[in-house]
């Protein structure tokens, strides 16, 4: 049986939960049971159906727009708050600073990740924002960062190559990797290097000085020259000065080239028009220097063609997707039987990652029992996953508390070291590249206590929910079957929420020492049946207290950290 053959094995809540944890952070019990009924193929198809994102966040003070409509730019700096006219709205209040708007983006994204219907789109968007890494705090422009993220979301399962092209000419990226100061005669190599080292072909072993197998230092310099002349509109400062407007008007953007990307301009005098000589790693390719904006784009396209012609590029991105969705250990067998075939698919289907991922997530290999629990949950897996499994946001009655609720989850992500669009470096979060620890990087003596503090807090009363806990353990257990049997109940909880099964003695220990606090496991039935028969306050509390104790313990177990 080939590793990429469609999975035909056992299909229970356990396998379904594995797929949904990896593909979309997690699901509710009802959603999970639908997956069990639907089966692998139908579920995976559904995961790749585009989800319409909710409207972008508004200014919380007056509900005005601060993100221009697609393809538009704000052209006035005086606040007019004409929210009906996207071209003149200037509700992006510069005095508030980018951190304010970036904060709104993060909370919006957290809430979307937590509330969207089961789909792989957001976990893939997170993947892309980690792959083509930028840091909002460096970009310092809320609109640029929003638009890059929106592009990644819209193209999450589209063409990797188109994404690389768009990112190369993205305002946020031009700022982040100094493309905006990469000019003729004074090339800044930052983007030219990372494009190859991290974003596309990947760096191989350094076999001689400056030769990284896949490319060389010469290619870094040549790429930097190809990339000269582009800058973001409104670069360097946040204030859109009169000069910026003049500048933009004098160098009109070419709408057909950048219909979705209006914040990038080309300055012909900054572009290096000489021919660019690449190394033997790219077959000594020469890219002819050109002077018009269209010519400069053509140079970039030729360079991307050159990079994408190398098999290393498709293998590099498939490896990263594999590490993100499956496992960090790429054995020879995985390389030849999973990575290379998928890379070949990617090259032949026009670089669309959707079909490739579908095949991976439906495969025998993905469901291999030996790989279950090979990941540790990322902060997003933990925080968003719990938010999705226990969607108590639906209970919020006071709309002013909605923002605060999702803000709490956003803060938890940051504290646990997965601040959205703020990776520790251009290489993205360390957990996805730092051998040999990989996912273990998430869990340290500093972050594990924070995770424990977070899950503890889910079990205490929350103000946004009208003094109810975020994780309503009694309601959750009520949806399982035969919850009066404590051992069966714990096994079901394990099946739904854990990546690895408990051994029998653990189930017994949990029932007697934790749930029943030293009593016998069968005594639970009395409490549960009394509550079901007569849900008085006293009977409710008699089951809530033990269940909260059990869940608090379960969330703190090492087992729960497996993803």
């Amino acid at each position: 049986m080939a590793m990429l053959d469609p999975y035909r094995g056992q299909w229970t809540r356990r396998e379904a939960a594995h797929l949904m944890r990896r593909a979309c952070f997690g699901v509710t019990l009802e959603q999970l049971d639908k997956v069990v009924v639907d089966g692998v193929s139908k579920t995976v198809d559904a995961l790749f159906t585009p989800v319409k994102a909710p409207a972008p966040p508004l200014n919380p003070t007056d509900n005005s727009k601060w993100i221009p409509d697609p393809g538009q730019v704000f052209t006035k700096t005086v606040v007019s708050s004409d929210r009906n006219d996207p071209t003149t709205s200037t509700a992006y209040d510069l005095t508030k600073g980018p951190q304010y708007y970036n904060g709104l983006t993060k909370i919006w994204w957290t809430s979307h990740m937590m509330t969207h219907a089961p789909s792989i789109q957001e976990k893939l968007t997170l993947f892309w924002s980690n792959h083509f890494a930028t840091e909002m705090s460096v970009v310092q422009n809320g609109i640029f960062s929003w638009e890059l993220l929106a592009f990644m979301r819209a193209n999450a399962f589209g063409s990797f190559k188109s994404m690389a092209r768009r990112v190369t000419l993205d305002a946020a990226m031009l700022r982040y990797l100094n493309g905006n100061v990469n000019t003729k005669g004074s090339p800044n190599e930052n983007y030219g290097r990372e494009l190859q080292e991290l974003f596309s072909i990947g760096k191989g072993p350094e076999i001689s000085q400056g030769d990284y197998t896949t490319y060389t230092e010469q290619d870094v310099r040549a790429a930097a020259k190809v990339l000269t002349g582009w800058r973001d509109f409104g670069t360097r400062d946040l204030v859109l000065t009169a000069n910026d407007r003049d500048f933009r008007d004098n160098e009109p953007r070419n709408p057909p080239l950048f219909a979705d990307n209006p914040n990038v301009v080309f300055v012909a005098t900054n572009h290096d028009t000489t021919d660019k000589q690449f190394s033997v790693r790219y077959g000594n390719r020469v890219i002819k220097g050109r002077s018009t904006p269209q010519g400069a784009v053509q140079e970039i396209d030729e360079m991307l063609d050159m990079i994408f012609e190398q098999n290393a590029t498709s293998e590099y991105i498939v490896k990263k997707l594999y590490i993100w969705f499956v496992n960090s250990d790429i054995t020879d067998e995985v390389r030849t039987k999973v990575v290379e075939p998928l890379a070949k698919d990617l090259r032949s289907n026009g670089w669309n990652v959707g079909p490739v991922l579908k095949k991976l997530l439906s495969s025998e290999h993905f469901f291999d029992v030996n790989l279950r629990g090979c990941q540790l949950r990322s902060p997003a897996d933990l925080v968003i996953g719990l938010g999705r499994a226990f969607p108590s946001w639906t209970l919020i009655t006071d709309q002013t508390l909605v923002g605060r609720y999702f803000q709490g989850f956003t803060t938890a992500l940051g504290a646990q070291q997965m601040d959205l669009v703020e990776p520790s470096s251009v290489a993205g979060f360390e957990a996805y590249y730092q051998a040999p620890d990989y996912y273990r990087m998430w869990l340290t003596t500093a972050t594990l206590p924070l995770r424990n503090g977070f899950t503890d807090a889910l079990l205490t009363n929350n103000n946004a929910l009208g003094r109810k806990p975020i994780v309503d353990t009694v309601a959750f257990v009520g949806k399982l079957s035969g919850s009066e049997d404590s051992l069966g109940m714990i096994e079901q909880i394990n099946e739904v929420l854990f990546a690895a099964p408990f051994v029998e003695s653990t189930v017994m220990m949990l029932a007697e020492e934790i749930l029943m606090n030293g009593g016998r496991y069968y005594e639970w039935a009395t409490l549960w049946n009394a509550y079901k028969a007569n849900p008085t306050n006293a009977n409710f509390n008699a089951v809530r207290t033990p269940l909260d104790r059990l869940f608090r313990y379960l969330f703190r177990t090492a087992e729960y950290q497996l993803g």
């Binding site: 100094n178 100061v181 990469n182 000019t183 004074s186 090339p187 800044n188 190599e189 930052n190 290097r193 080292e197 760096k203 072993p205 350094e206 000085q209 400056g210 230092e217 496992n327 029992v369 030996n370 279950r372 629990g373 090979c374 990941q375 540790l376 070291q417 470096s425 251009v426 290489a427 360390e430 590249y433 730092q434 040999p436 273990r440 990087m441 869990l443 340290t444 003596t445 500093a446 972050t447 594990l448 206590p449 924070l450 424990n452 503090g453 990546a499 690895a500 099964p501 408990f502 051994v503 003695s505 653990t506 220990m509 313990y553 703190r556 177990t557 090492a558 087992e559 950290q561 497996l562």
Partner: protein, 536 residues
């Protein structure tokens, strides 16, 4: 404490434990000296009792521009012409000598220099330098050649040599504290030991750390049958255990000492060093602390457009200088300055020629800086040769592993053979630590028994008379003896039954040759030891 435990440790593991500089009392507790033959004892005594020494590593992430940190005044013309848009104005440079100076914002560092507490090593890099941040950081952290993908860390390997089975059996009474602490949410590669275990723990703020750590006992032998899941669970449990084990000692150390100097605010490096000072002064036996400051990747706007001594890089250097100076003042006030050395490093320097965005691209060799009372002040190496470049980059004067070897040897007292193993080769050393800075921590040597206390020997090292004190809180049969470094009996000072009380003996060392001796106190069935260093 068990009596007569020589059989508890196999000979092999015992010898393994003795490599490197290990605290003597740790090795000798409960083990009758006579049970071991000459070479083993010899090995034991040749190690130096220096476990009170602390190394603070300051990592400057992003590639610090060495040429604008340590400015080559003697080559100012060349320097100015190659980086005219970012060159530091000549007459503003703070001079270390007529030939060399430091950035004008580094006033604190300059003070430390004038107090002979600073050393600069010029031109540090490695053969075949790598210009990628990630790869070069890994090379520095792992302490390996640039063509080797080493997945353990240099300081981790050193600590692993000293604490061979770590983390098995740790913490214990002799090393109750984390061996190393990184003031960050994650532990870096530098602290990774031979078995890929982290020799350090990550710590952000002792208060939060303590509050949040409380816990659950992991169930026993209950791992799933699949290997990867089982390994991950074991890993998380180890982290859980570490969080629990160290939370109390860290909190208590942090509570015990208060900073005695006001640190600059809004300074991410100072925030970390402030905690380090408290932990060291509070009595943690932790050997290595790692602190970090990022933002040195100054491709653009490294200097201000109007004034080259302002801008991003100036702000960063000011933070470094102010943070390290405050830390130094603090540890001096706390009385621990004799046992703390601070070392800065960065993954690479920057291109000699600046770019047109008022910045610099990735380069190679750059200076490292040492701070502290024990530091051999001065400048090692010469101003970089900017006329003889390699692809626009400075050539190497010192391999970073030479500097690591120097620190391991001169500060931690590691032996050449051990250093060779740790750094995968022999590297000649340079003098970064003053000679004769042997110090034996007084606090550390206090040993407590059920009804007795063995006070630290003073002075130690001793030139003429050593004062040996102990307190008995009950009657004991007491034997106080001195052995030399071959395990031979030198003297018996006390051999009698004694009532409770404070005892003090003056031991004259005039007749003894210089070296390390062991003072052994036997009280009924219990035993305690201290190293006494005779230095004449």
């Amino acid at each position: 404490m068990n009596k007569n435990t020589p059989t508890r440790l196999s000979r092999r593991s015992f010898i393994a434990r003795t490599s490197g500089a290990v605290a003597l009392p740790m090795l000798f507790n409960g083990i009758p000296l006579q049970a071991f033959d000459g070479p083993v004892v010899n090995d034991l005594f040749n190690v130096e009792a220096e476990t009170d020494r602390v190394l603070v590593l300051v990592q400057l992430n992003g590639g610090n521009d060495g040429l604008n940190t340590v400015i080559p005044l003697s080559e100012y013309g060349t320097y100015q012409s190659l980086r005219s848009n970012i060159a530091i104005t000549e007459n503003k440079v703070l001079k270390l000598s007529n030939a060399t100076g430091i950035h004008p914002v580094m006033k604190g560092a300059h003070e430390l220099w004038s107090e002979q507490k600073m050393n600069v090593v010029q031109g540090v890099t490695y053969p075949n330098p790598n210009l990628s941040h990630f790869r070069s950081t890994d090379i520095w952290m792992s302490g390996s050649a640039s063509n080797v993908n080493e997945t353990t860390g240099w300081i981790g390997r050193y600590l692993n040599t000293e604490y061979p089975d770590y983390p098995t059996g740790y913490p214990n009474t002799k090393m109750p504290d984390p061996v190393a602490i990184q003031m960050a949410p994650v532990v870096g590669l530098a602290l990774t030991g031979y078995q890929h275990q982290s020799m350090g723990i990550a710590l952000q703020d002792p208060e939060t750390f303590y509050k949040l750590v409380s816990g659950t006992d992991a169930p026993g032998n209950d791992l799933p049958s699949t290997k990867l899941a089982a390994e991950n669970i074991k890993y998380v449990r180890e982290v859980q255990m570490k969080s629990l084990q160290f939370s109390a000692v860290i909190k208590s150390a942090a509570d015990k000492a208060q900073n005695k100097f006001t640190y600059p605010t809004s300074n991410r490096l100072a925030d970390q060093l402030k905690i380090v000072a408290r932990l060291v002064a509070g009595g943690l036996k932790t050997r290595v602390y790692v602190v970090q400051l990022g933002g040195f990747d100054t491709h653009a706007s490294q200097v201000g457009a109007d004034d080259t001594i302002t801008g991003t890089h100036a702000n960063l250097l000011q933070m470094v200088s102010e943070a390290i100076t405050a830390f130094q003042r603090d540890i001096e006030a706390l009385g621990i300055a004799d046992r703390v050395v601070t070392m800065t490093f960065s993954e690479f320097g920057r291109r000699v020629a600046s770019n047109q965005s008022l910045g610099t691209d990735h380069g190679t060799a750059a200076p490292m800086m040492f701070f502290g009372v024990p530091v051999q002040d001065g400048i090692i190496g010469t101003n970089p040769d900017m006329k003889n470049l390699d692809n626009g980059n400075l050539k190497m004067q010192y391999d970073f592993r030479q500097i690591y070897a120097s620190v391991l040897e001169q500060w931690f007292g590691a032996k050449k053979a051990a250093i060779k193993d740790i750094l995968f080769g022999s590297f000649s050393t340079v003098k970064v630590i003053k000679s004769g800075t042997t110090s034996v921590d007084s606090e550390e040597s206090v040993q407590q028994g059920s009804a007795w206390t063995f006070q630290p020997i003073s002075p130690n090292p001793v030139q003429s008379n050593a004062i040996i004190r102990y307190e008995l809180r009950a009657a004991h049969h007491v034997r106080l003896e001195i052995f030399d470094n071959l395990g031979f009996h030198v003297a018996t000072i006390v051999h009698e039954a004694q009532e409770s009380g404070l005892y003090e003996h003056v031991f004259e060392v005039a007749a003894l040759p210089s070296g390390t001796y062991m003072v052994q106190l036997t009280l009924n069935d219990e035993r305690a030891h201290q190293a006494m260093i005779v230095a004449k």
